[in-house]
């Protein structure tokens, strides 16, 4: 048995599976931010039968993320090459908003007085220009310890290629101060560009003691319930035993969104769909991600709280449009939606918690798509009058009816999300029209068809339990580690012949680490890719490789593929320019259990009801179905609405609903082939 537990900002969700991957139980409890393990334990106690064999637990949590966002990490020290001690404060010297005269830089997590320079310097090529001054280094460490730091981050220049001095520091600290937590830039993120690497390392150190304490507490509590195996999801969508996560907690900062994408991939692939764009619309924001051939795009470029965080992660774009996003008129008289959100408190006006601003959810209430008595399975009684009043306030300023304005609010939210989808698709050289939009999160299925319309996408898939997909995604995760090595060479025949050898050596490292996690490397599946560029460029494009094919081909073939990729991405290629091989990437992955089967139990016999909704400013009749009553094979034409406890799905006119054999809702544009 496996149990997936996802700690979110508001709710902690749990799904329990049997050994064949079928759902035994689901539950949702309120999160306990002060001590997140409490909610986890209370959720476990609700569903786990002490008499049965204990399940393996797969966990996702925002403990590390919140520590950074709320700046509640530990007192952290920073060691760097002397002469460069202000790197965290200097940052990149630029501003995110160019006309903001009263601009404020992001505040570093480590203040200047907890930074020390160490006398050492290694050149780009590995030559030691200044040997490490060991006694000065120890003094620097001691003075940080005297300042009361709990963790130390180390980032020396060029350590991504030459980690020797950082490793010496690690040994010195471990020997003298075994209680101090340590993060080395050369092991957290071995890539060049010192500010980004230093920032990533500092974040890792800053959250490490907190994540460790949390996981120890959790493992103890879980152990008391017989659960001995706890896995965590990382930002790349892969699972890792919790005891290793403690060593590199920075790799889990974006695990929540990664879990959702992982769940969406599994459900779509079970339905025979491998090319998807995911859309997870929550209360304040929407996450989108492009998945081709069942594999999400990965990146190492992200920021958290305006600070660079460069670890392998699923390439997810977030945009400030969610169910709680507030509609407002800007000083130029233009209707805007978000990025400000009413959040959970006071929440949309219709929640009746005192909110008066019109939100996307209020607009959907006015449109008639969300019905009082049915929202969240009827658990939250909606105040339709308050929603109407809030939307009418905006409508009056626009000189429109509340109905028309409600539709416009939804449209603007749709466009905002569609632009995020463009970022991950067209802007990366992929045509969204050949993808299926997979919508989840409480608000996603309501807006999915509207977003699909903006991009001429013909098909939308709404999985079972769309509000629980992140917890489900934990269970769909595989063990996965990404390995990379930078070794720049020309893509000539010699460089080409070296590709296999480089992968052999990278594979040896990967197998060693994987075996150390207790996972037999030979049982893992492997995929490889290489980053390439024109000589003189500083950014690369990643090309997937098939090593069997490489053996029988020539450098020209690879160069040709790079030119094609460059042209697709940038609209321009220069085939006469020399190409370079830069970074070699190898991924090992392995299933951790039987494939999960997520199905809606279609045992309910609630009959469809007819209710009025707004289309083009006018009232229109619409059928409302209860999802648990829709058997596989059910079909219906829009407009229609499907309600269930965690979400509402809208099928507009011109769209058609089919319930597939796995109980997914497939919404297809009429007339599309």
């Amino acid at each position: 048995m496996r149990v997936g537990v996802e700690v979110g900002g508001t709710f902690t969700d749990l799904i329990l599976l049997d050994d064949s991957g079928g759902v035994i139980a689901t539950t949702k409890v309120l999160s306990t931010p002060a001590n997140p393990a409490l909610a986890v334990v209370s959720a476990l106690d609700k569903v786990i039968d002490p008499a049965s064999p204990p399940p393996m637990m797969i966990h996702g949590s925002t403990v590390a993320t919140n520590a950074v966002l709320e700046r509640k990490g530990v007192r952290t020290g920073f060691l760097t090459t002397s002469g460069f001690t202000d790197i965290l404060e200097l940052q990149r010297q630029d501003r995110e908003r160019i006309y903001e005269l009263q601009y404020r830089k992001p505040e570093p997590l480590v203040p200047g007085h907890l930074t020390r320079g160490v006398h050492e310097r290694i050149a780009a090529g590995g030559e030691i220009l200044t040997p490490l001054d060991t006694s000065q280094a120890i003094e620097a460490i001691e003075s940080l310890v005297d300042e009361g730091v709990n963790a130390i981050a180390v980032c020396f220049l060029h350590s991504y290629a030459h980690p020797e001095h950082e490793q010496w520091i690690a040994e010195a600290i471990e020997e003298r101060y075994p209680g101090i937590y340590l993060s080395l830039s050369s092991s957290v993120v071995a890539e060049f560009r010192e500010y980004e690497r230093a920032s990533t390392t500092v974040i890792d150190a800053y959250v490490k003691p907190i994540v460790r304490a949390y996981l120890e507490d959790l493992e103890t509590q879980a152990g008391a319930r017989g659960i001995s195996s706890v896995m965590m999801m990382q930002s790349n969508g892969g699972l890792l035993p919790a005891r290793y996560v403690r060593e590199q907690p920075g790799r889990t900062l974006f695990s929540g969104p990664a879990a959702g994408v992982t769940g969406a991939i599994q459900i779509a692939s079970e339905a025979g769909i491998d090319d998807i764009i995911t859309m997870d619309m929550g209360g304040t924001s929407t996450d989108v991600c492009l998945v081709t051939g069942g594999r999400p795009q990965l990146t190492t470029n992200a920021t958290i709280a305006r600070l660079p965080m460069h670890v392998p992660m699923i390439d997810i774009e977030t945009v400030g449009a969610g169910g709680g996003s507030i509609a407002w008129l800007d000083p130029g008289g233009m209707l805007q939606v978000g990025p400000r959100s009413a959040g959970a408190d006071p929440g949309p006006a219709c929640y009746g918690f005192g909110g008066t601003s019109a939100t996307t959810t209020d607009a959907n209430v006015v449109r008639g798509l969300i019905r009082p008595g049915h929202f969240l399975g009827g658990e939250l009684d909606l105040d339709v009058g308050a929603a109407r009043q809030a939307v009418a306030q905006v409508a009056d300023q626009l000189g429109q009816t509340a109905e028309r304005t409600a539709e416009n609010i939804a449209r603007i939210a749709d466009v905002t999300m569609a632009n995020a989808l463009r970022l991950v698709s067209t802007e990366r050289g992929h045509d969204p029209r050949r993808y299926t939009l997979v919508a989840y999160g409480g608000a996603g299925p309501l807006h999915a068809a509207g977003v699909a319309d903006q991009l001429n996408i013909d098909r939308v898939l709404v999985p079972p339990y769309p509000g629980l997909l992140s917890a489900f995604g934990l269970l769909a995760g595989r063990f996965q580690r990404d390995f990379a090595r930078t070794r720049v060479s020309a893509l000539d025949e010699e460089g080409y012949r070296g590709i296999e050898e480089t992968f052999d050596s990278l594979r040896a490292t990967a197998h060693e680490e994987t075996a150390a996690f207790g996972i037999p490397p030979d049982s893992c599946s492997e995929s490889v890719a290489v980053d390439m560029r024109y000589r003189g460029q500083g950014f690369e494009l990643t090309l997937d490789l098939d090593l069997d094919e490489i053996r029988n081909q020539t450098a020209d073939l690879l160069a040709q593929r790079f030119h094609d990729l460059h042209r697709r991405r940038y609209g321009h290629a220069t085939p006469h320019e020399p190409v370079e091989l830069v970074t070699y990437r190898l991924t090992l992955s392995q299933e951790v259990g039987a494939q999960v089967r997520l199905r809606v139990q279609t045992t309910d016999t609630t009959e469809a009801a007819e209710s009025e909704i707004v289309i083009d400013g006018r009232p229109a009749a619409c059928r409302f179905h209860w999802r648990a009553s829709l058997e596989p094979g059910f079909t219906g034409d829009g407009p229609l609405v499907v309600e269930e406890p965690t979400a509402t799905t809208y099928v507009p006119p011109d769209w058609h609903l089919v319930v597939d054999s796995n109980t997914n809702l497939l919404i297809e544009r009429k007339g599309a082939t």
């Binding site: 006309y99 800007d330 460029q537």
Partner: protein
């Protein structure tokens, strides 16, 4: 006036802005030089058929403000009826709407089938454009010594690029052709992106809606700017700052701004500003216009206004011809950012009494540009790197100034030490830190300047550099103290130390170290609470 409904305007307008952002992302990733890729000294935009900017990415204010000025000669001189998709325009002429010669604009027409919708624009600071010295010519007194000049000129992409006359000509006249041509190709990537995406946008919404959005966005921005100006009390305000010219044995040149706010309009007059000088610190007309827009935009305190031509309609500017802010040929203009920043400072000083809560004190606010070049004696190949350093920003009414930021009219990032040292073998960065002692004091203190030093690892490394505020640090505001000035210092391998002027060229031997120190920001308030 366009009568497009506000919802459609918002929806299509957001898509236009998304296109501009995508142009910028693609340009950076496809680029070659450190100054474009790491420092991000480039900008992009979409123009309508009049050449008015309708959407831009947030990049370098000096360039974004200058795109429509740079396009004016294209509109005036060429017959758009005869344009085809094969046409492109290069432009960098400081005397007809350009910036300095390094900023090369590329304009390409965007057609929807046969109909001209507008133009894609990109501009990059090119690391090398020929001229008297590699990267930058500190001693130039005429623009002829500063590099190649391209008055707006039309060429055929199929015939003249990719081995054709224009590409070959540029390639033959710059010292690092692979970087320059590579960056120009990155500009084509940006422009091609706009072409593709605009065609898709028209497919979706129709050409009339897209055109209406293009004009509606400008009207919208104009309304927002006018709203903002109304919040500044009516009046006539004056401010002054200085550009130093001691490197040429000249007195400081005054920059005088008289700012008149009347309801929803602002006019700025630079009468009384000093005459142009035989040095590279003259500011082309378009740069002065950009500086005025940047300063006014900064005090409006409304960050969400899209930047397009509509923003400029409520603003009128008068600049005496022959002054340092509107020079006649053959003035040298390379370091035009120094006088342009003083324009910004003078306007902020002028408005400091009117809107004290919306401003910050002037800071070091200077582009400190450093070219490090080396001619490999064996291969005959040049290496050229341009470094841009920021300084301390001025303090605000409720906070201390920011440390080590590029000036308000620019937004260049620093180049990672690791990126520079991996690519170039003739120098190393020896140190890069803040200098706390440079801050001006006040109720709130100014930000810190920085120092960054470079050690030559070969003989005959040539450094050319310019900066400003070397003789006197920036004065604070509303009683705040002055920031410290900047300096350039060379320490030779034998231990001798030389202090250099603010604009300088020097040859280093292996082991010599060149250190650039930038100044701190001015304080805000006299310390009495």
């Amino acid at each position: 006036m366009s009568d497009i409904d506000p919802i459609t305007l918002n929806i299509v307008g957001k898509s236009l802005q998304a296109i501009a952002r995508e142009m910028a992302a693609n340009m950076r990733r496809a680029s070659y030089s450190s100054v474009v890729r790491e420092a991000r000294d480039f900008s992009v935009g979409i123009l309508d058929t009049e050449g008015s900017v309708v959407a831009q990415a947030e990049m370098i204010p000096m360039q974004t403000g200058g795109i429509s000025e740079a396009f004016k000669p294209v509109r005036e001189r060429f017959d758009f009826e005869s344009l085809t998709e094969d046409d492109a325009f290069l432009m960098n002429d400081p005397f007809t709407g350009g910036q300095h010669l390094q900023d090369i604009f590329l304009f390409t027409p965007v057609f929807i089938e046969r109909e001209l919708l507008g133009f894609a624009a990109s501009v990059a600071h090119h690391v090398e454009v020929g001229g008297g010295m590699p990267g930058l010519n500190a001693t130039a007194t005429e623009f002829y010594q500063e590099g190649l000049r391209f008055p707006a000129s039309r060429f055929s992409r199929s015939r003249d690029w990719d081995g054709g006359f224009v590409e070959t000509f540029i390639r033959a006249n710059v010292r690092v052709p692979e970087k320059v041509i590579g960056d120009l190709n990155a500009q084509f990537s940006a422009n091609n992106t706009a072409d593709r995406r605009l065609n898709e946008l028209v497919d979706r919404y129709g050409i009339d809606t897209v055109r209406d959005t293009m004009s509606g966005l400008q009207d919208y921005a104009e309304r927002r700017i006018r709203d903002g100006i109304r919040k500044i009390p009516n009046g006539i305000y004056s401010g002054e700052d200085f550009v130093e010219a001691s490197a040429w044995g000249l007195d400081p040149v005054p920059i005088r701004a008289r700012v008149e706010v009347q309801d929803d309009r602002i006019s700025v007059d630079f009468a009384g500003t000093g005459s142009q000088v035989p040095a590279n610190i003259n500011c082309p007309y378009a740069s002065t216009i950009s500086a005025v827009q940047g300063a006014i935009r900064g005090v409006l305190h409304d960050e969400d206004i899209p930047f397009n031509e509509g923003c400029n309609r409520p603003i009128t500017v008068r600049i005496p011809y022959g002054s340092i802010l509107n020079p006649r040929p053959p003035a040298a203009v390379r370091a035009r950012m120094s006088p342009a920043c003083r324009v910004h400072n003078a306007i902020i000083r002028a408005l400091s009494d009117a809107v004290p809560d919306r401003i910050i004190s002037p800071g070091f606010d200077t582009t400190t540009a450093i070219s490090l070049s080396h001619l490999n004696p064996e291969t005959g190949e040049y290496g050229v790197v341009i470094e841009i350093l920021g300084g301390g920003w001025g303090a605000g009414p409720e906070f201390n100034g920011m440390h080590g930021l590029d000036n308000p009219l620019s937004n260049c990032a620093n180049a990672p030490v690791e990126a520079l040292e991996s690519e170039y073998g003739y120098f190393r960065v020896d140190s890069y830190e803040l200098e706390p002692a440079t801050a001006g004091s006040g109720t709130h203190d100014g930000g810190y300047g920085v120092y960054r030093s470079y050690a030559a690892t070969r003989d005959d490394v040539v450094i050319s550099a310019y900066s400003d505020r070397f003789d006197r640090g920036v004065a604070g505001i509303l009683g705040g103290g002055s920031g410290a000035p900047g300096s350039f210092i060379v320490e030779r391998a034998d231990g001798t130390v030389e202090h250099l002027p603010s604009t300088t060229s020097i040859t280093l031997k292996k082991g010599d170290v060149f250190a650039a120190h930038t100044g701190g920001g001015g304080g805000y308030g006299n310390g009495e609470v």
